[in-house]
């Protein structure tokens, strides 16, 4: 539940790190809260071309991410809802959100948004394989079929498999950057429609509609960040200590993303596939390490 309130902090953290690394003061960490609040009080402009699908996109996208959040464990602390195979449901819920956001983009009839939709679908195709491979490697490592037991089991891994955890974490980090449209995959701050991927897809959403999308984006950052953060060693003395550790780990992942964004340039669009492929290779290696 805390995730719902804290998630909009993450983009703020990332931007803060980027600003500091660039020698600027940067916007306050709470900027997204202010943006959301401002947008929430505005009216809406719909394109005359659009239908109910345009409005269904943000609603279903947010609903899918919220539902997926109930499946995300806080490191070794179990999720609200856990059952064998829940990782598949989590990934497919994100897929549902993406499907309808893509449809909403195509509903505007704009070539910009069509372009964004097409690129988003392509990136998703690239990110899905390393994501599943990494989750499968972790499932193998912890010998469990649900996210909560997997993340709980990682604490008791035999010595010498830390490398596997590290590799799986690296793969998940790439997925985190890809799915959330961050540098080096996509630049959330780019100013030219032609070079955008995610941002261009939501050009026509305004006011509270945009709030749903932006908030959903922050939650997705929280969700995939949580999958990475859960891999870090967290204090296990008490539940509250673990929870606090998890929050710190989430912040650490955001800081790492900020550092990556500050130090790396965006990859050219045609060479994008190489990164998720490398991530898939990492995940495969992790699997091999867990196999023995």
């Amino acid at each position: 539940m805390a995730g719902l309130a804290l998630a909009p902090l993450l983009p703020g953290l990332i931007n803060r790190v980027k600003a500091l690394a660039a020698g600027r003061r940067g916007p306050p960490t709470t900027q997204l809260y202010r943006d959301l609040w401002k947008l929430l009080r505005k009216g809406v402009v719909y394109s005359a071309t659009t239908t109910w699908v345009f409005r269904a996109g943000p609603r279903l996208g947010l609903a899918a991410t919220l539902t997926a959040l109930t499946l995300m464990p806080w490191g070794p602390l179990p999720a609200l809802l856990t059952f064998p195979g829940d990782m598949v449901v989590l990934v497919y819920l994100l897929g549902l959100g993406r499907f309808f956001t893509v449809l909403a983009a195509l509903d505007t009839g704009s070539s910009f948004e069509g372009m964004g939709a097409s690129r988003e679908a392509c990136l998703a195709a690239l990110a899905e394989v390393p994501l599943f491979l990494a989750l499968a490697a972790l499932a193998r490592g912890a010998d469990a079929m649900a996210l909560s037991p997997i993340y709980a089991g990682l604490a008791h891994l035999p010595a010498g498999t830390t490398a596997g955890l590290f590799l799986a974490g690296a793969a998940l980090l790439v997925v985190y950057l890809t799915e959330n449209a961050r540098i080096p995959i996509d630049d959330p701050n780019t100013h030219l429609e032609l070079t955008m991927i995610h941002e261009v897809m939501i050009l026509d959403h305004s006011g509270p509609e945009l709030v749903l999308l932006e908030y959903g984006g922050a939650l997705k950052l929280w969700l995939l960040g949580g999958l990475v953060a859960g891999l870090l060693p967290l204090p296990a003395s008490a539940a509250w200590a673990t929870a606090l550790g998890f929050l710190a780990a989430q912040a650490a992942v955001a800081l790492l993303a900020g550092l990556i964004e500050s130090t790396l340039a965006r990859i050219r669009l045609v060479r994008l596939p190489q990164l998720p492929l490398a991530a898939a290779a990492f995940a495969l290696l992790a699997f091999v390490l867990f196999l023995t």
């Binding site: 059952f83 064998p84 598949v88 549902l96 679908a121 899905e128 499932a139 749903l212």
Partner: protein, 679 residues
């Protein structure tokens, strides 16, 4: 009490009920032929008889499926000359029942749809009687394929199914493209049928019987089981459209009338899966490589189908390739089942087979829906090309909404039915991953990655079909003037859409419903699965919970937003185009450009063709760009192969004389030689 009623009914004979239903379907076809002069009335009578027939015949299937009634069978007091003493017969067991459901549902609904769909032909005064008769016979032939319990009967009704569907594929035979599609279908089917003929002869030779009830004998004796399996895979694989045997499918489906496409795609190609499972039910102790072969073939088909489906701009061809993809997923499930059987892991076995069977059902529901809706769109626009559609959701709100629902189901998204069966396959993959046997873990991982990639690509293909075809601005004059097709086309779609929603609601019941059929395939008792099914309840209940939660949250957000926006200014304006004020529909992203990044990514496999006329000079002449992705298997492997064959076999042309008398002489000579040889 209920069992008592079932028992009473059983006394009257479920088989009689089943045959009565099939008789009504044929009667519908015959009535349409007789009433050909009054096409409107003929269509109505045919539709009514066929729907009634399908409903009647479905009663025994629905009771046998969960084991409420024992399997029923019947025999004729007669034997095929030269085929031993076995009496030909039919048997309806749980495995038959699960395949009868899509056959009967789609045949019935397709008849209702066809009544309206074929109306434009009335105005052109074209005779429909034979088409209706072929349609009825196709439905009956499929039902008989699923129940035949005698090798010769099976081969005969299998051929009947092929021929009647061929007549329907070539319905619009005045078009050259349709004729060539029909020819390809006929040739491909008969190559498959040749394998089946060999298979059933081998089976009869090994067991000394044509009757299926004698075949469990094969389980306990040393037989060339691998040969049976491979022949069945080749013969039935053609019908199921498994790559690389799929080449006929993307040609035949678009050529056929839309309700026939729905029946062929949802039910007929599933008969290939049925045949394969039936043969597997005769065999025991499969080798692990059978499972790996099936998983490899299945994932290959699934990925290939999904990619090519994404590359198409012909809506019906896109859906046809999606069928290749889905049959690939079914084959993957069968592969997991075989693997579980080979390595004695009942949980893996059950998840694999049950997932495959459920996916057959789900595919029939959403693909039937998609073909029905696509037919309505094609009818309204007058073209199958996505580039001529666009904006149809505004003009055909009901059809469009159902198409989007079907597309989401076909993309395997929760909470719809496609995901329910894919979830079984994923569980099988993860189960394989967490077993102690190292030989299974690594390949299970590859299978999981393949399933994941197929899932996203299928999602992209479906987003393209729905997004480019039904959303945005109309891309042609005809699309701008499109309108709803009326109740006759809408009702069948609605029924299938409700089915897509009902399957996931029943998620926790499906293992129980599918257990008898799985038992039939593996020869295990149904009780052997009780523990596994109990262990399956938490994941399936979790799936349902997540689905319900999703709908609740989405509903809550929608209500909140409505409340929030009520007092706010809500304006309508043109789409943002960087300040440009006169966007035209031609400026939209096209179907081709939507798929381009992913096609480029896989260009080594797909080999797309580009024709580019670049603008040159200071005052360039008009430039042009065209991109097509022809079927790589057909273009680069089969076409050269068949060309080479034709060159080599040209010698045999000498025998092709052209006089019927000479051909009769050939037949007589052959018979004579055979007689002498046997003497």
């Amino acid at each position: 009490m209920f069992h008592l009623v079932v028992f009473r009914l059983g006394m009257f004979g479920f088989m009689t009920l089943f045959l009565t239903g099939l008789g009504l379907i044929v009667a519908g076809g015959l009535a349409a032929l007789l009433l050909e002069q009054w096409p409107e009335r003929a269509g109505t009578v045919a539709a009514i008889l066929m729907v009634t027939g399908a409903a009647v015949a479905a009663v025994p299937a629905l009771l046998v499926l969960p084991g409420l009634s024992a399997p029923v069978s019947c025999h004729w007091n007669w034997a095929f000359p030269g085929a031993g003493l076995d009496q030909p017969g039919l048997r309806l067991d749980p495995l038959s029942a699960i395949f009868l459901l899509p056959v009967l549902t789609l045949t019935g609904l397709g008849a209702v749809y066809g009544r309206t769909y074929w109306r434009p032909w009335h105005h052109r005064h074209e005779a429909l009687g034979l088409a209706w008769l072929s349609y009825g016979l196709l439905g009956v032939a499929m039902a008989l394929v699923a129940t035949a319990s005698h090798g010769v009967v099976f081969l005969v009704v299998w051929e009947l199914m092929t021929l009647t569907s061929w007549f329907l594929v070539t319905f619009e035979n005045e078009k050259p493209a349709v004729r060539s599609a029909g020819w390809l279908y006929l040739v491909a089917s008969h190559i498959g049928n040749a394998c089946l003929l060999a298979l059933f002869c081998l089976l009869a030779r090994n067991t000394g019987s044509w009757d299926f009830s004698a075949y469990p004998w094969l389980r306990t004796h040393t037989v060339p089981a691998a040969a049976f399996f491979l022949l069945a895979l080749a013969g039935f694989g053609v019908k199921a459209g498994l790559a690389p045997l799929h080449v006929w499918l993307p040609e035949a489906h678009p050529a056929a009338p839309s309700h026939v496409s729905a029946v062929m795609s949802g039910a007929m190609i599933a008969m290939g899966i049925y045949g394969l499972l039936r043969i597997l039910s005769f065999l025991d102790h499969p080798a692990p490589w059978w499972g790996w072969l099936m998983i490899g073939l299945g994932l290959g088909s699934a990925l290939f189908g999904a990619l090519l489906s994404l590359a198409q701009s012909d809506l019906k061809r896109l859906l046809a390739y999606s069928s290749v993809e889905n049959m690939g997923l079914v084959a993957t499930g069968i592969g997991f089942g075989l693997l579980g059987q080979a390595t004695h892991q009942p949980a893996l076995l059950f998840l694999g087979y049950a997932g495959a069977l459920l996916h057959v059902l789900n595919h029939a529901l959403f693909k039937g829906l998609l073909f029905f809706a696509a037919g309505a769109a094609v009818h309204a626009v007058g073209s199958r090309s996505l580039e001529a559609m666009g904006g149809l959701l505004r003009r055909m709100p009901e059809t469009g909404a159902l198409f989007i629902l079907g597309a989401a189901a076909a993309a395997g998204l929760p909470p719809l039915n496609g995901f329910t069966s894919e979830f079984f396959l994923y569980l099988a993959g993860f189960r394989g991953l967490t077993t102690a046997q190292t030989g299974i873990q690594a390949p299970a991982l590859i299978a999981l990655a393949g399933l994941a990639l197929t899932g996203v690509l299928a999602g992209a293909a479906m987003a393209k079909a729905a997004g480019v075809g039904f959303l945005g601005e109309p891309r042609s004059e005809a699309a701008a003037n499109a309108h709803e097709p009326g109740l006759g086309l809408f009702l069948p779609m609605l029924v299938l859409a409700l089915g897509c929603l009902a399957v996931p609601v029943l998620a926790t019941f499906w293992p129980w419903l599918l257990a008898p059929a799985t038992a039939e395939i593996t020869g295990m008792p149904v009780d052997a699965f009780t523990d596994i099914i109990n262990h399956l309840q938490p994941p399936l209940a979790g799936l349902t919970t997540a689905g319900v939660l999703l709908l609740l949250v989405a509903g809550w957000i929608t209500l909140r937003m409505r409340y929030l926006l009520k007092p706010r200014p809500v304006r309508r304006a043109a789409t943002w185009t960087c300040g440009y004020l006169q966007p035209t529909p031609r400026m939209q992203y096209t179907a081709g450009s939507f798929a381009q990044p992913m096609i480029t990514l896989f260009r080594g496999l797909l080999r797309p063709r580009y024709q580019i006329t670049r603008p040159a000079g200071l005052f360039p002449a008009p430039a042009a760009f065209a991109c097509a992705t022809p079927d790589v298997v057909r273009e680069h492997y089969l076409r050269p192969l068949f060309h080479a064959l034709r060159e080599r076999l040209a010698v045999l042309r000498a025998f092709q004389e052209g006089h019927v008398q000479v051909y009769i002489l050939y037949i007589t000579l052959t018979l004579l030689i055979l007689l002498l040889w046997k003497l």
